[in-house]
Amino acid sequence: MKKIHIIISVALSLASCNKYLDVKPEKSLQVPQTVKDLQAILDNNTIMNNDYPGAGDIASDYYYLTDAEWARRDQVTRDDYTWFAQAENERDYLFNYTKILYANVVLNAIDDAELKGYKESDRANVKGSALFFRGFIHWYLTQVFTLPYNREHAATMLGMPLKTRADINEKTVRSSLETTYRQVLNDLTAAAALLPVNAITPTRPSKRAAYAALSRVYLTMDDFIHAGAYADSCLQLNDDLLDFNALDASLPAPIELFNKEVIFHATFYSGGALANVRTLVNPTLYESYVTGDLRKTVFYRSVENGYTFQGDYSGSVSGALFSGIANDELYLTLAECYARQGKDAEARDVLNRLLKMRISREVFIPIDETDAKTLLQIILKEREKELAFRGGLRWMDLRRLTKDADFNTTLQRNLDGKLYTLSPQDKRFAFLIPSIVVQETGIQQNER
């Protein structure tokens, strides 16, 4: 009987020994608790820096597809290209809300995270980064899934579902466009206050990136004062430009990854429509570069039936194109904002500083246009020429200019003899919220 007692006491001591069960089941698995863990979440480049929304670029006018090229693209790409009213962009939607989820997981935990050898400045950096991602991505989604911002109606227009907590059970509702923009501005402003001026790598957000993002957001709100101010603040911190005179246009990718103009690195997905090895630049756009404009050779390469793109800011030969933020965009934003505020001299100066680096020294003549409207016209045309194939930007410009009778355009596509058009007032400037989300959550679908 004594033996049985022994057995029972052994068994009981095992039961109390919960320590035995506290060991981590998977070594690489971790419950995120430290600043290091949270930084690692945001350093997931595949999630946080790739697959920015691409539908707008597929729908943009800086390139075209031949009938055969269009025919062999996947259905989503074909639909986006022809502005098909029922086009579904699940991927753009999901992949970007995943970024927001990652940011929210970090924000949920960052205030209580253990430092474990890290500094409070690292905590501020991680928190600022997460806020940057959350704000920037919410804004990026508006460019695909909502109609262009309109100050008068923004309070009643449909915005994005806002996700500010990592809670899978939170009910999804669409906020107004005004609320969406306010949230975006809050996140980005808070991020700018927390982030260091420069990040150790352009895949991480920085104060410059937050300023640049704020400049973009205000530009889409037609708030040229703030857009200009943030662009200026950003350029005050760093106004480096690549000198195209010094680039070797014969290289397969003349512009390098992480070059000195890049503030924040990201790429977008285009379903193969925008493969730089085969996608042909819009001939009208190509013709608009003057002789001696180095972008003609740095950006484009001659093939049998036209010109393909090679000036990607990711330094890619084939693969996803850049959709991050670079200094050249800020020059153009600043120039436009000056022009819009009637500061023509400042506008010309900023524009010329950029063009000097883009046009061959032998032929460069500074812009001296004095007519305000023509000057604005020139700046916007330069924007089109400089930022073609740069993810998100052309579509953003097309959208914000729909409200401006002087500068809006009706887009046209010609396929198999059939003409497709997208006029400035068209509701299709907002792609459909993926129908499975609408069915799942009951949120309001965009009008058709």
Binding site: Y20, L29, A68, L101, I168, A253, V303, Q439
Partner: protein
């Protein structure tokens, strides 16, 4: 003395007797106990003298006994209990003997649960056993495939081409990774590769089906348990040697099974696409030089004027004659040959016994240059240390090598996702290996580098010859068992098992392989006249190893007692502790030289340009990775039964488990699993009078077991990864979102069984009904994309299964020609009774049934299609229904279909299945044939996908191409839509997933035939028979009947399991 006898005679005047000398004659009548009818042919033996007689037709007999002595007389007859009488003088002169019919004593079968062995008679649960003979009926290298088609309720799902997927009584979980039954070898769950076990070492396999049988295994037993018992010797057993060898040939796979478009039509399609300009962007791409097929190259030459029209047509016509499948069949495949040798030695004395098994397998796969070798050694020793203490020590060692040189036909493909064109050839007319396009366009590779780069050509056959890839596995399993007898009724037992498995994988790409040459070329930089090799010239060596270690310990008390011959108690109770650790590491070396064993360091950090700018600058591929995991379990269990008067059995069992899984609250709650059961040996009752069914038993059980899913956690978890794509910093993936409510899956099961047997076990019926309810099933459910997830994994479904398992055994003939027939049948119908997620999108239900999509009220794996509306008579477009109206709006059809626009065909898994096995024996000959059947399920046929065919990298179309609609009127004859360019993916998807492509899967299959001959080597009967057995075995014979008209094997849509033939020889000495 005489006086006394005389006196007796006077007392019994009616008895006629004759007396002669010292003998006395007893007369008597024998009748059957129940019927009171006289019994003939009863042997009446005078045990004292040895003399015997038989009763006559009236049951009467007269026996002479010695007058003076006490007589012992024994009465015996077939099917009756032996009776013995002790008569002392004075003898009665008349006897009336009642003979009782023999009780059917089922052969004492012990079933093993892995914790105890219990007599089947005393069990309340559902056990099914495959004994040694039945297990060895099939010939195979592995254990599991021998069990196919033998047991009711055990179904093998071979849709993926292997025999490794099986389930017991259908689904108990909807997460396929944890849907496997728990496999227990001897006493502990087996953590290693099940292929480590040599089937020649196996004594029996027991399947535990219901809750009473499985609940002792707690949280891991929800899918049922399979207990594999290995051979062990007995005490006091003479030396026994058995030698077994067999040889199996596996036929090459049938490459022509799936109907395909002809090469000629494929070439014409390429011509059509070329004219449409589909290849233009490839042909003009001089930056990344994508591959174009030879036909396109020819057409391009012709367009540029470098090739005359006549020459083009000749070339195209030549290509149209080819079919790559012929070359693949000849140069890529071979007949597989498996050789198996096994030696078995055993014996035992009074204090020690031993058993040793030695096995060697050598398999050559049907894929050339692939194979498998395995050496196994197993010993088992038992020691009787003293009266109270027994010890057992067993060691099992396995060493195997799997050669994986041939990665299949993907090696022939020009690029990932680009299937080889059908006119490719592996050898030229002279039989020399050909070069096929790979990586970059041939016209570029032919001119590139001016000799400065390594050869950049690709020849599949040469690559196959140079491939050098294998996995070595070592597994050591040590068992120790001590059993101490405290009293005859009480034992205490300690068990310990240690397992260590080491896996070492090595893939060597020598400097001559394309893989190494290609990498080196890409990373070559032309530096003036010299080359800078950022990846050094030489081979690439990938090594990885994985280490599994597990410790299991158990302490158990057994108590057995019987009182007053009526009360029987059996109890076990114990505690178990387990720890399994896995570690793995993978590394890569560049510039590796296999002759001198050297490698060269490389710079993994710098972004290097790719030669000629063929791709974006990138870092050298870095393949180092490490992983480690540790699982711990702690369990307490008890199991007891009480039997009254050998008629009524009550059983109960309980178990609690805890583990170290992340954040699952249940871990700490020690959730109990339990079962109760009862059995009634009806035929033992006095009132039981059904004479043709002398054995009858009913039993019923109810209880719970569980499923552990250690992939998901209840808290947010991240997984670290080594280097992010741009900044090369360590980064983390989000693996789990918080879900504090996460619970272990529970499976509750009710089981009711009836066992019947006729006299002499001529007919035996075992029939069971069960009802399983699996709750809290963890399933991946489609999520609101706004959460950032496409799907979320959570406790979300309740699955109910109703089923029947029945086995009918008949010894039809029992004479010289013996005929044994076994029919098993199972009904297994499951239904998702509740799904906690709202499902607003019926279109998402459309499925081929290979993935689980829970739909309330439907089977877990169901085939759901778009309702078919026929073909449009004018265009050949497929039509479906939207809100009951015919429609060709494929966007709406595929996106917004309502439940009414869909067809719910039924289960994708058979709901009725079983086997009918017949064995004939005559002298030494034995012939056994197993026919299996599966009924009541559906499958979806593959069909042509025009979008894949009409692409810039056309994939060879399905043979339905020839059935396509081509002109008005065809819609009466076919359902295959017309070819349309540009192809509409949604139109393809709609047709492929429409009801037009679903057929019934019902079929009857001749699974296997076994013929054997037993040649006795010794005449005299001894406890060990010496004999020689020859066996011939054919497996996967073919389908006898099928419901579908398309001639498909519904179990294998892409390629059926090939026929195998085996010859075996067993020598027992």
């Amino acid at each position: 003395m005489k006086k006394i006898i005389y006196f007796l005679c006077l007392l019994c005047p009616c008895t006629a007797f004759a007396q002669s000398g010292s003998m006395f004659q007893i007369k008597g009548t024998i009748v059957a106990g129940h019927s009171q009818k006289p019994l003939a042919d009863v042997t009446i033996l005078d045990v004292t003298t040895g003399g015997s007689i038989k009763s006559d037709g009236n049951g009467q007999f007269t026996l002479s006994v010695k007058r003076a002595d006490t007589a012992i007389i024994r009465f015996s007859a077939v099917d009756y209990e032996i009776q013995q009488l002790k008569l002392s003088p004075p003898f009665p002169d008349a006897l009336l003997i009642q003979m009782d019919e023999k009780r059917v004593e089922l052969e004492e079968v012990n079933v093993t649960t892995g914790y105890q062995e219990i007599p089947k008679e005393r069990s309340t649960g559902s056990f099914e056993q495959v004994d040694h003979a039945l297990f060895n009926r099939q010939i195979s290298t592995d254990v599991l495939s021998r069990l196919d088609g033998l047991m009711a309720g055990v179904a093998f799902d071979k849709r993926n081409g292997t025999a490794m997927n099986f389930n017991i009584r259908g689904l108990s979980t909807i997460t396929s990774r944890i849907a496997k039954p728990l496999i227990v070898v001897d006493n502990f769950p087996y953590e290693g590769d099940i292929n480590n076990i040599n089937p020649n070492d196996i004594e029996s396999v027991t399947v535990l089906k219901d809750a009473a049988a499985t609940s002792i295994w707690g949280a891991r037993a929800g899918n049922g348990v399979m207990v594999i018992k290995t051979k062990a010797a007995k005490f006091n057993q003479p030396f026994h040697l058995s030698l077994n060898t067999n040889w199996t040939v596996t036929a090459k796979p049938d490459l022509f099974y799936t109907p395909q478009m002809s090469t000629a039509d494929f070439v014409d399609t390429e011509v059509f696409l070329f004219e449409k300009g589909v290849y233009d962007s490839y042909l003009s791409n001089t930056r990344t030089w994508p591959i174009v097929s030879p036909v396109v190259e020819l057409l391009d030459k012709n367009r540029k004027g470098d090739l005359s029209e006549a020459a083009l047509q000749t070339a195209l016509n030549n290509l149209k004659q080819q079919d790559i499948r012929n070359d693949i069949n000849r140069y890529w495949y071979q007949n597989g040959v498996n050789r198996q040798y096994a030696l078995d030695l055993s014996g035992g004395g009074q204090k020690v016994n031993y058993r040793m098994g030695l096995g060697y397998d050598d398999n050559a796969s049907t894929l050339k240059r692939n194979g498998y070798q395995r050496l196994t050694l197993k010993t088992q020793n038992n020691f009787q240390i003293n009266r109270a203490l027994d010890a057992q020590v067993g060691i099992q060692y396995t060493e195997s090598k799997r050669v994986l040189n041939n990665k299949g036909t993907t090696m022939i493909n020009p690029a990932t996702g680009y299937a080889i064109y059908p006119y490719a050839r592996l050898v030229d007319d002279k039989g020399n290996p050909t070069e096929l396009p790979h990586g970059f366009r041939k016209s570029f590779l032919d001119t590139v580098g001016n000799g400065r780069l390594l050869d950049w050509s690709y020849s599949p056959l040469k690559e196959l010859d140079m491939a050098d890839h294998y996995e070595r596995l070592n597994d050591l399993l040590v068992n120790m068992n001590l059993r101490y007898t405290l009293s005859p009724n009480l034992h205490i037992e300690a068990k310990y098992q240690y397992e260590k498995q080491f896996l070492d994988s090595r893939e060597h790409f020598s400097g001559e392989t394309f893989y190494a040459r290609d990498l080196i070329n890409r990373f070559t930089v032309f530096d003036g006249e010299t080359n800078r090799y950022n990846i050094p010239v030489g081979g690439v060596l990938d090594r990885s190893n994985g280490d599994l270690k597990s410790h299991s310990g158990r302490l158990q008390i057994d108590y057995n007692n019987t009182w007053a011959e009526k009360h029987e108690v059996a109890f076990i109770g114990g505690a178990e502790i387990r720890q399994t650790t896995n570690t793995s590491a993978a590394t890569r070396s560049y510039g590796y030289d296999d002759d001198v064993l050297t490698s060269v360091p490389v710079d993994y950090v710098t972004l290097f340009p790719i030669v000629y700018g063929l791709a974006s600058a990138t870092t050298i591929p870095w393949n180092d990775s490490y992983s480690g995991s540790m699982n711990r379990f702690l369990s307490f269990y008890a199991n007891g039964s009480y039997t009254y008067n050998r008629r009524y059995v009550l059983s109960a069992s309980a178990r609690r488990d805890a583990s170290n899984l992340f954040g699952v609250e249940t871990n700490r709650k020690w959730n109990p699993f339990w079962s109760v059961g009862g059995a009634w040996n009806l035929s033992a009752e006095d009132f039981y009078r059904i004479s043709f069914l002398p054995y009858a038993k009913v039993r019923a059980t109810y209880g719970y077991s569980g499923n552990v899913n250690n992939d998901i956690a209840g808290v947010t978890t991240i997984a670290y990864r080594p280097a992010a794509s741009y900044n090369l910093l360590p980064y983390a993936n989000l693996e789990n979102v918080p879900n504090p409510d996460l619970r272990w899956e529970q499976v509750g099961q009710l089981n009711v069984g009836l066992e019947l047997a006729t006299k002499g076990n001529r007919l035996m019926l075992d029939i069971e009904y069960y009802r399983k309810k699996a709750t809290d099933l963890i399933a991946s459910v489609p999520a609101d994309l706004t959460t950032g997830f496409r799907s979320l994994t959570m406790n979300s479904a309740i699955l109910q299964t109703n089923g029947w398992d029945a086995t009918l055994q008949a010894n039809v003939l029992q004479g010289k020609l013996a005929w044994n027939s076994v029919l098993t049948g199972s009904v297994n119908k499951n239904k998702v009774v509740r799904y906690l997620k709202e499902q607003p999108t019926p279109a998402n239900w459309v499925s081929t049934g290979t993935n689980l999509i829970p739909i309330e009220g439907q089977p877990a794996y169901s085939v759901v299609s778009y309702r078919w509306g026929g073909l449009d008579g004018q265009t050949g477009d497929p039509m479906g229904y939207v809100n009951g109206e015919l429609s060709k709006d494929y966007v709406t059809l595929t996106r917004n279909a309502t439940a009414d626009d869909l067809v719910f065909h039924g289960s994708a898994l058979p709901q009725y299945f079983g086997a009918w096995r017949n064995t004939l024996r005559y002298r030494g000959w034995s012939l056994s044939v197993n026919v299996t059947y599966k009924f009541d399920y559906y499958f979806r046929k593959e069909t042509i996908m025009y979008a894949a065919l009409l692409s810039n990298r056309p994939a060879l179309g399905h043979g339905d191409y020839y059935q396509r609609w081509q002109q008005p009127g065809d819609e009466q004859l076919t359902t295959v839509p017309s070819l349309k360019y540009p192809a509409d993916t949604r139109r393809d998807q709609f047709y492929a997933n429409s009801a037009a492509n679903v057929e019934k899967g019902d079929h009857i299959r001749l699974k296997d035939i076994q013929l054997s001959y037993l040649l006795p080597l010794s005449q005299k009967e001894s406890s060990t028979a010496r004999n020689l057995r020859f066996t011939y075995y054919v497996n996967n014979v073919g389908i006898l009947w099928r419901a579908n008209k398309s001639n498909f094997d519904p179990d294998f849509l892409s390629a059926p399991l090939p026929l195998t033939m085996s010859l075996g020889l067993t020598l027992d000495l």
